[in-house]
């Protein structure tokens, strides 16, 4: 092992990072389903998952076990190879995209090798992400076709048309950011938004010479459509198409589609954070007045821990009392740990990054709980007649503004 490590340090370190990120990602995705059900439930004045574990915290585990042990039904006349390929494509492509996301500015040290906080740091990071996004159409289209059933086929046709249409505006809407940063590299795009004196006012959303507010709105709308989420979830409109492209999928193959959808939600949230909201940069300026904001992560975690502790101690079930108060204590411990001198610096980047990503995930769920579904012709009209011209105009205006500013 050690000889191998000496020969191929990059390979070994990358493998370790992949394994850790995979584990974290899978857990996060599982709890994202719990989060979504809880938030939507509260929007609709319900409680959401409450039975499996305290506050339904074990619900993702129960769901996962159910997916694993259910019978996997393959419809008669299905194209076996493609039928099995489609969910695999959906999930693996969505997870691959995560590998490019840089989570923080500082390097970490694994087995004595310094390595950045992302698996791959490509010069063409953003383009590669778009390449993966453009391939994700296949998962949906092939699933619908190979099921040999009419509703999946209709859903797949709809979705391929929808995803191809919105991909254009998605790509066009970020060109403004690329012009401002002058790079495809995600780290450099974030670094271009850094300004110790002005803080969040230099994020691409507000950046001079051309604030990218319009670009951001186009990007987020197109991205929601690209991930097939409400209000653009026509590929799986249940009132019209039963469940759209994945009607004929059951057990773990269905779970793979599910995981793929949530993973692409996370990717889009990360991208929105990186491109328009300064990635891991703190919104506060680096002046002595705002020095206290460096303790915000610890303070937030500490408060969350305290709240969990008091909630746990008042709980009726004994298991819940133990679990919740333990969780609260753990959060408190982590809060104390990250005020330590070395850790405090390191935590800032990942904390702000994850906080922003979390905010976007909440917006995703919020939008789902609030807006009704578009009609198909409306969807196409919005994509081609509104988003595309507006994002093109944004590109033109931004290039013009940059030209003028350079004079």
């Amino acid at each position: 092992m050690s000889a191998f490590l000496v020969q191929h340090p990059l390979l070994v370190v990358s493998l370790i990072k992949v394994a850790v990120l995979m584990f974290l990602m899978m857990t996060a995705l599982a709890y994202l389903t719990w989060f979504e059900r809880k938030v939507v439930a509260h929007i609709q004045s319900r409680w959401g998952p409450y039975r499996a574990g305290p506050h339904g915290l074990l619900q993702p585990l129960a769901d996962g076990l159910k997916f694993l042990f259910k019978e996997g039904v393959t419809p008669e006349g299905a194209d076996k190879f493609v039928y099995y390929l489609a969910p695999f494509l959906s999930m693996s492509l969505a997870l691959t995209a995560i590998a490019l996301i840089p989570f923080g500015p500082k390097d970490i040290s694994i087995l004595g090798h310094r390595t950045p906080l992302s698996i791959a740091d490509l010069n063409i990071g953003l383009l590669f992400l778009f390449a993966i996004t453009s391939l994700s159409v296949y998962g949906v289209a092939l699933a619908g076709w190979s099921s040999n059933s009419k509703y999946p086929l209709l859903g797949a046709l709809r979705s391929s048309a929808q995803m191809v249409s919105y991909e254009l505006s998605l790509t066009m809407s970020v060109v403004g950011v690329l012009l401002l940063a002058g790079s495809f590299n995600l780290r450099e795009i974030i670094a271009a938004q850094y300004d110790p004196r002005w803080g969040f006012l230099r994020w691409n959303l507000f950046a001079l010479p051309m604030p990218q507010v319009v670009g951001f709105l186009c990007f987020f709308t197109a991205a929601v459509a690209e991930t097939n989420r409400l209000p653009f979830d026509l590929p799986e409109a249940e009132s019209e198409l039963v469940a759209g492209f994945h009607t004929e999928y059951s057990s773990f193959k269905f779970a793979m589609f599910f995981l793929g959808e949530y993973a692409s939600m996370v990717t889009v949230s990360c991208l929105a954070t990186i491109l328009f909201f300064g990635g891991w940069l703190s919104p506060f300026a680096e002046t002595p007045i705002f020095a206290w904001t460096r303790f915000l992560p610890a303070a937030l975690l500490g408060v969350a821990g305290l709240w969990l502790l008091q909630d746990g101690l008042r709980h009726q079930k004994r298991l819940a009392r133990v679990v919740l108060s333990m969780l609260g204590l753990m959060l408190g411990g982590v809060a104390y740990l990250i005020t330590r001198p070395g850790v405090l610096d390191f935590v800032q980047g990942p904390f702000w990054f994850l906080a922003k990503v979390f905010a976007f995930l909440f917006i995703y769920v919020w939008v789902r709980g609030t807006l009704p579904r578009f009609r198909y012709d409306q969807l196409m009209a919005v994509g081609w007649k509104l988003l595309l011209p507006v994002s093109l105009a944004n590109v033109l205006l931004t290039s013009f503004a940059i030209l003028v500013a350079r004079r």
Partner: protein, 164 residues
């Protein structure tokens, strides 16, 4: 053998296998998927040469857009398995010699081509160089191509428009 050579042969093998499968598959969707595999392998080869931008564009444009439309149309027409007709049987006897002839031609001309002046370098910003070439040195042919594509789109519109 260096790692790069191994990767090259791997990708080349995948590309050739995909191309063979493209011809031999009976179902149009399977053929289209094989073509996607070929595109991806080609993108990998570009990446091996240090042409990151071209590799990404290859995937975005060919695998992500054009082939998706192919698959879309095949699904829309609900095309079934290919059947053998008299003409396709004949194609087997004519196609094999013609294919061999084309291959020999390619080998002949590639062997006669002069070796590249300098080895391709990955450089710090190959994308920038490419942009300079496209939008300064070759801007006229580039714009001409886009007008050509525009004409094709207009033609499709005219054909698709219903007579009122």
């Amino acid at each position: 053998m260096t790692v790069q050579l191994v990767i090259f042969f791997l990708l080349a093998g995948v590309a050739v296998a995909g191309a063979l499968s493209l011809i031999l598959q009976r179902h149009p969707i399977h053929s289209a998927l094989s073509l996607v595999v070929v595109m991806m392998a080609l993108a990998g080869l570009y990446l091996l040469q240090g042409a990151e931008f071209i590799a990404a564009v290859q995937i975005i444009v060919y695998a992500g857009a054009i082939m998706v439309l192919f698959v879309f149309v095949i699904m829309l027409l609900n095309a079934g398995e290919e059947e053998r007709t008299n003409l396709s049987r004949m194609a087997r006897y004519v196609g094999l010699p013609l294919g061999t002839f084309l291959l020999l031609q390619l080998v002949f001309w590639i062997r006669r081509a002069p070796a590249p002046a300098a080895a391709l370098s990955a450089g710090p910003a190959p994308t920038r160089k490419l942009a300079m070439m496209l939008f300064q040195d070759f801007v006229f042919p580039f714009e001409l191509t886009s007008i050509l594509i525009l004409i094709a789109i207009l033609g499709a519109l005219v054909l698709a428009k219903r007579e009122s």
